[in-house]
């Protein structure tokens, strides 16, 4: 029962109409998420992340395909799905005219909490998300980071076992981002909450999520742990620099044999290669070359980033993909009105 998936998407597809042309925002999305997982949905703007999330949270119906979320079908039992999940959207969850504590209490009532329970829960969240100094302020008066913490608090009011977050850290300063992540990680550790989030920040997915799904142009193109994605699709970049060009040339052959990889000579005195196991290769290479009388002056091993992974998968850097996505600024309108 523990291993019954908490999210089960089957062929989710969403088509929009932009300027009378059909655009497929999400194509045949199928995946499973197990209880307790922290999954990052990574991709450039316009890749289909938010649309996927909006389908899973019952905000928009899929054009085809379906999904079970927290044990309920998004098409036949949207109300049951809504009761079971928490959702933090891309924008501000709190109404600008409302006070922070009031919004939390209203949210509690929406989810059927008793008044006493809602009050207790609101105070807990105000405390743990450092909202106490602003509890009686209106949402309008909060800073970006404070608003975002309230968004998370609102998403957690009913202690859902599954929390969706759409770009939770976009627009925050580095410190607020780190704080927010700490809260998300804590939440998972203490309550075993399943967290499904979208991000276009590579560092975040890399650092916090143990499972990364890469989405590009509406399709999932990779789904694995960040570490596995990096070692399989991109390797550590190892650079050895020698005192002379002669040494570098002489070392190329032995290094190629040792690593079993192609070696390039850069700037005459440096050898560069990519390998999944750079940390192990470095000391071994330095020892062997030294024994052969080839003195290594500098040795560096740079681990790959998810940007390298994205490049390996798509042939484009994430930044390039972003720029293209931002060029097409047309707002999509759903094809056929949802009922």
């Amino acid at each position: 029962m523990r291993h019954e998936p908490i999210i089960e998407a089957r062929g989710l597809t969403k088509r929009f109409t932009v300027d009378k042309a059909a655009v497929e925002a999400v194509t045949d999305l199928s995946f499973e998420v197990l209880p307790g997982e922290l999954v990052a949905f990574l991709g450039p703007n316009g890749a289909g992340k938010s649309t996927s999330l909006r389908m899973l949270t019952t905000l928009v119906p899929p054009t085809s395909g379906t999904a079970r979320v927290a044990g309920h079908d998004i098409l036949t039992a949207p109300a049951a799905v809504r009761r079971s999940i928490g959702y933090v959207g891309q924008l501000t969850s709190g109404s600008f005219a409302q006070r922070v504590r009031d919004e939390l209490l209203s949210q509690g009532a929406f989810y059927g909490l008793t008044r006493a329970h809602a009050r207790r829960r609101a105070e807990e969240l105000i405390e743990s998300l450092d909202l106490a100094p602003f509890a009686t302020r209106t949402v309008q008066q909060l800073s970006g980071g404070q608003k975002r913490r309230l968004d998370v608090a609102l998403g957690l009011m009913h202690a859902p076992r599954l929390l969706f977050l759409d770009e939770p850290s976009t627009g925050l300063d580095p410190q607020s981002r780190a704080n927010l992540w700490q809260h998300i990680v804590d939440l998972r550790e203490t309550h075993g909450t399943t967290v499904f989030l979208t991000t276009h920040y590579l560092e975040e997915a890399d650092r916090y999520a143990e499972r990364v799904m890469v989405i590009d142009r509406g399709r999932v193109i990779a789904d694995d742990t960040a570490a596995a994605l990096k070692s399989e699709l991109a390797g550590d970049v190892v650079t050895l620099t020698f005192g002379t060009a002669e040494d570098a040339t002489a070392a190329a052959g032995p290094l190629r044999r040792l690593a079993g990889r192609d070696v390039r000579i850069v700037d005459e005195r440096s050898l560069v290669l990519t390998t999944p196991d750079g940390d192990r290769l470095l000391p071994a290479a330095v020892r062997e070359l030294d024994a052969a009388g080839l003195r290594v002056e500098r040795a560096t091993g740079v681990p790959p980033t998810l940007d390298d992974v994205f490049l390996a998968l798509t042939g484009r850097t994430l930044r390039e993909a972003q720029a293209v996505a931002e060029d097409s600024t047309a707002t999509p309108t759903p094809e056929g009105t949802p009922r």
Binding site: G71, A80, R83, S95, F96, A109, F110, V139, H158
Partner: protein
């Protein structure tokens, strides 16, 4: 199917009662909407500025024009001002929803386990509270100048005003839902409609002296019927035919407004 439903319910003990009913949802939406008003009642006075300007700057002109005593003119004019509060105040409430659609909190309520209809009905019913308070303020301000409302008529008149505000509020919310994030379109339509409705209701000046086509249009303007009903009620003429037509207009508007509004809310995403 049944086993997974059951296990989900067991593992999620805090998700509350599965069905509290639409009434509970409406109540929760209504109380949330009222919170900012209770926290900052000054906003009610602020939105009274326009009707107060008409009362302070337009009524004296009417008094001068008619040559009748102030009390007599107010008896004709104040009921119209009460309807004006609804027209200007409630007619614009859609912009609050539109703002929440653009800033994100509307989306949050769509993901919450609330029936779609309650999201509209709760908001529409909320309009009653500020309208009653504002109407009582206008009446209280007018009394020292010689306005003498009939007490029973006032109670019935306020109830009629409440029903009218639910209808107009619903339509305003429906307009916001239909125009989505195009604020200019919301205000364009709202302003285009509000002034013809105002003038063709005989609220500011009697239409008796107007051309016959204007009077013809006024007969199909529900606002005009509500204004006439309010005049009769506040004067104590509870049995007047205008009262019946006022109620019919307000009830039809409320039913139609709620239907259109709920439909728009169901399509909202």
């Amino acid at each position: 199917m049944t086993t997974t439903e059951k296990s989900a319910a067991e593992t999620a003990p805090t998700t509350g009662a599965p069905r509290g009913g639409v009434a509970r949802d409406v109540w929760n939406v209504l109380t949330r909407e009222l919170r900012p008003v209770v926290r900052d009642p000054f906003t009610l006075i602020f939105s009274l500025v326009q009707p107060l300007v008409f009362l302070g700057l337009f009524a004296p002109l009417l008094v001068g024009q008619s040559g009748e005593p102030t009390g007599e003119t107010l008896r004709w004019f104040v009921p119209g001002v009460l309807v004006m509060i609804v027209l200007f105040g409630t007619g614009a409430v859609g912009s609050n929803l539109q703002y929440e659609m653009m800033t994100g909190s509307h989306e949050r309520t769509l993901v919450a386990p609330l029936s779609r209809s309650s999201l509209l009905v709760g908001r529409a019913l909320k309009e009653v509270a500020p309208i009653i308070v504002q109407a009582l303020l206008i009446v209280a301000i007018s009394i020292p100048f010689g306005f003498t409302p009939d007490p029973v008529g006032l109670v019935v008149g306020l109830t009629l005003l409440a029903v009218f505000s639910v209808g107009l509020g619903s339509l305003s919310y429906a307009l916001a839902l239909a125009t989505k994030n195009r604020e200019w379109l919301f205000w364009g339509v709202q302003q285009t409609l509000i002034f013809p409705l105002l003038i063709l209701s005989g609220m500011l000046l009697p239409l008796d002296a107007g051309p016959s086509w204007m009077r013809a249009v006024a007969t199909v303007n529900p606002v005009s019927w509500v204004v006439q009903a309010e005049r009769a009620l506040l004067a104590g003429d509870l049995g007047a035919g205008a009262v019946l037509w006022g109620w019919v207009s307000a009830l039809v508007l409320a039913a139609g407004g709620l239907a259109v509004g709920i439909r728009a809310m169901r399509r909202s995403s």
